[in-house]
């Protein structure tokens, strides 16, 4: 099985880990967004709270969420490892004059990723941590007693600084996706003149629409 280790420790293999975990996180973002959009439903948070209960209690979702956490961690660790290796390859002596060609986001994935990670830590502590370990007040719908996460989210989205931070993080995600979505396909070798325009269109649309909708929710909840 040495070949398997060789494969994943090679320069190309490391990139595959980035691409595959990245694509999975893209899928996760889409699902997460659909869940979040229920916050805008005018029902005092019932749909969102029931959904949050389902997401934390369904055994299948639980397994997928553990895979998701693992993929996030892999994506971050591999990014750090790759960046270090790439810096080393570049060498200590830089150029006196730099005219970097290429799209800005493609050259700044590390910075964008760091902003997203910082947001992720705050975000996880605030909602995920509260939902799992905090003392969230309970609410009863029919014969179900569920945690009122809507209350926590609603309170957070009334803080101007949190809405600003959230929006800023979504901008970082948009730029990260702008490069990441298409880049993942290139890394996996999926470059074909028939499909490239489709991948490019879907990637660019996704990277604008999804973060924009994410950011729209706290903005709407802040003002309404």
């Amino acid at each position: 099985m040495k070949w398997l280790i060789d494969l994943f420790s090679s320069s190309l293999g490391r990139k595959v880990v980035m691409a595959l975990t990245g694509l999975f996180i893209i899928l996760f973002l889409a699902v997460h967004l659909i869940g979040n959009l229920q916050l805008l439903k005018d029902d005092g948070g019932e749909a969102f709270n029931v959904y949050a209960y389902f997401m934390t209690h369904n055994p299948l979702i639980k397994i997928v969420s553990y895979v998701n956490y693992a993929f996030f961690i892999f994506h971050i660790l591999w990014a750090i490892a790759l960046t270090r290796k790439n810096r080393e390859a570049r060498g200590p002596q830089g150029y006196a004059i730099k005219n970097s060609k290429g799209i800005w986001s493609s050259r700044n994935m590390g910075i964008l990723g760091t902003i997203i990670l910082a947001f992720l830590i705050i975000h996880m502590r605030q909602f995920w941590g509260e939902m799992h370990f905090g003392s969230v007040p309970l609410k009863t719908y029919g014969d179900h007693e569920v945690k009122d996460l809507y209350l926590i989210v609603g309170a957070a989205f009334k803080e101007w600084w949190y809405v600003a931070l959230y929006s800023l993080a979504m901008i970082a995600i948009a730029f990260h996706l702008w490069h990441g979505f298409e880049s993942a396909f290139q890394t996996l070798g999926l470059n074909h003149m028939k499909y490239n325009p489709v991948i490019s269109f879907v990637g660019k649309t996704f990277s604008i629409v999804v973060p924009a909708l994410f950011a729209l929710i706290p903005i709407v909840m802040f003002f309404v």
């Binding site: 790439n86 570049r90 060498g91 730099k98 005219n99 290139q186 070798g189």
Partner: protein, 256 residues
């Protein structure tokens, strides 16, 4: 035209280099960039100073020997080799900064000369056809479509100058290696060793200490031969396919 040149001077591999400024007072707009340095070097020799070392050979844009990182671009501002870059590209009185390629795998030997033998070792690892392909076949005897033949030929135009490595923020050699993998992967003559070629060349590329591609495509923008990044995707496919399905995984020549 008058030109101010800021040139990287470095005695040898082990010493620290620094920029030195020179004046070139009688440059013609019709001179190539290398001819302009020739003129400067003649002046330096007359003054008893040491001339500036730089790589060059054919001066026709086909050998891949010339390098130079000029004003922030490998081979200068145009998408061509340095030998095909002419002084008319620059303004009279302009200050031009000339640096060697920068990459850990391309150590500076002297002034603007870097050691690009890492590319040779990658080629030696698998960038060839080992099996006897016979004499020159009659035209149209090998069934291959024009489009595929053109694609292979486009990849084969890579002159191995290293501009892709110089332009890449990660000093990745993937545009070069992918061109060399592609030119054979596309042709019938390259099929026999197709899998082990990809494995061996990429193993050697990693051993030389080149970085990973992060798809910024700076290489494609700077390549004097216009090698396409679609080749990198092909190389990735070749490599993953080879790693997952090849019989020979050791690079020692088999025997297990």
């Amino acid at each position: 035209m008058k030109i101010t040149l800021k040139v990287w001077r470095q005695k040898n591999k082990d010493t620290k280099g620094a920029f030195k400024t020179y004046q070139v007072d009688h440059a013609s707009p019709d001179m190539s960039f290398l001819e302009m340095i020739d003129v400067l070097n003649t002046d330096l020799i007359k003054k008893g100073e040491e001339s500036i070392a730089f790589d060059h050979d054919c001066r026709e844009g086909i050998c891949g020997m010339c390098s130079l990182y000029i004003n922030g671009h490998p081979h200068g501002p145009l998408q061509t080799t340095t030998c095909q870059l002419h002084m008319r590209t620059f303004k009279d009185g302009e200050t031009i900064t000339v640096e060697p390629w920068r990459a850990n795998a391309f150590p500076v030997i002297k002034d603007l000369v870097v050691d690009r033998s890492a590319f040779d070792r990658i080629q030696q690892a698998g960038g060839y056809v080992n099996v006897n392909t016979g004499g020159v076949p009659d035209a149209n005897m090998i069934p291959i479509s024009k489009k595929i033949a053109d694609e292979a030929f486009d990849a084969a135009t890579c002159i191995g100058c290293g501009a892709c490595v110089a332009a890449c923020k990660n000093a990745s050699a993937m545009l070069f290696v992918s061109a060399k993998v592609s030119q054979f992967a596309l042709l019938p003559q390259g099929q026999v060793e197709r899998k082990e070629r990809a494995e061996k060349m990429i193993a050697q590329m990693d051993a030389e200490g080149f970085g990973s591609c992060t798809n910024t495509y700076a290489c494609e923008a700077e390549c004097p031969k216009g090698i396409k990044v679609a080749n990198i995707a092909r190389m990735n496919r070749e490599y993953f396919g080879a790693m997952l399905s090849s019989y020979e995984v050791s690079s020692g020549g088999g025997g297990e």
